[in-house]
């Protein structure tokens, strides 16, 4: 049984092993395990890489940008236009937050597409990481809504133009759909990342067991990896867009 399991592992590796969290430095803080894990390593790497790129390419501060500077400016303008379209002029001061969120998730997703053998890891393929980000957004947006509109923020659940006898049906549905926002936001990113990487490992595993016909899965992997890179970018973008839309709901309530 053991050798059969071992032989099966050698030919078709378990796709779930790539999601294991490994401790790099053990560190215990007041009884809580605060070790530096490979998940933390990739997050720190994402922050360092994106900060270094953005700082060093804009260092020249040319009015007419060179090649590297216009890359950073492209990224900046892309997110800026998106925020401005979604939230209008009131959302301008939340732009740094949405920009950091977008770049953070984008770089983490892209770093996960690097296939470094046994060492590659995508932090966003864990529900706890994406739930932390989504909970941050949800709690922040709700607090902003209550701060700006006081208790009138609850009018979000009672859209205008609804006759009074439909209210008992509409209001619970609106409340449920509001509560499901952080859930859908986090599970969307988590599902896309986890399923993408698992499918890549599963198709890669087919190459070993198919012998000479293993050329088929190899050719299939090439466009599939391209699709995964697109999905990595798209999911970061969708996270940022939905955050802007929820922020718009909280800031500009007169659309309801």
């Amino acid at each position: 049984m053991a050798t059969e399991q071992g032989a099966k592992e050698a030919l078709m590796p378990n796709p779930m092993h790539q999601f294991e969290i490994k401790r790099l430095f053990n560190w215990e803080l007041w009884g809580i395990d605060a070790s530096f894990t490979n998940s933390a390593l990739f997050m720190v790497l994402a922050v360092v890489l994106s900060s270094a790129f953005l700082i060093f390419t804009v260092r020249g501060k040319n009015i007419i940008p060179g090649r590297l500077q216009s890359t950073s400016e492209l990224l900046y303008e892309f997110v800026r236009n998106m925020v401005r379209d979604s939230t209008g002029p009131k959302g301008e001061k939340y732009f740094p937050f949405i920009f950091s969120l977008f770049v953070f998730i984008l770089v983490i997703n892209m770093l996960g597409m690097l296939r470094l053998g046994h060492y590659s890891f995508t932090p966003t393929s864990h529900i706890i990481v994406t739930f932390a980000l989504a909970a941050l957004v949800f709690v922040g947006v709700t607090l902003i809504g209550f701060w700006k509109h006081g208790i009138g923020y609850l009018k979000l659940f009672a859209p205008s133009g609804v006759p009074w006898f439909m209210m008992p049906i509409i209001v619970p549905i609106e409340i449920i759909s509001y509560i499901s926002r952080p859930v859908s936001l986090s599970v969307r990113l988590f599902a896309n990342m986890m399923v993408g990487h698992t499918l890549l490992k599963v198709f890669g595993g087919f190459v070993g067991v198919m012998g000479i016909y293993g050329i088929g899965p190899i050719l299939l992997m090439i466009p599939f990896t391209a699709l995964e890179i697109l999905v990595a970018f798209l999911q970061a973008f969708v996270f940022a867009v939905l955050t802007s839309i929820y922020l718009n709901d909280a800031l500009n309530m007169h659309d309801h």
């Binding site: 779930m16 599970v187 599902a191 896309n192 399923v195 969708v238």
Partner: protein, 74 residues
């Protein structure tokens, strides 16, 4: 029935959720194409909405695939 067999059956059943994802994505791209063929100059402006719609439709199908993987491997 052994758990191993039940796992495979459960994972297979949960993957049926991707049918909805396929229909949804096809719907979105089809509408974009038919709109773009009627009004090509307006097509570029809606490109962002196209990608947004694709990601949102894919997400719902992937919720089902996540359940399939959880059943299969956890």
């Amino acid at each position: 029935m052994e758990t191993e067999a039940a796992r495979y059956i459960g994972a297979g059943l949960a993957s049926i959720a991707l049918v909805g994802a396929g229909i949804g994505i096809g719907n979105i791209f089809g509408s974009y194409l038919s709109g773009a063929l009627r009004n090509p100059s307006a097509a570029q402006g809606q490109y962002t909405n196209l990608l947004l719609g694709f990601a949102l439709a894919e997400a719902t199908g992937l919720f089902g695939l996540v359940m399939a993987f959880i059943i299969l491997f956890v």
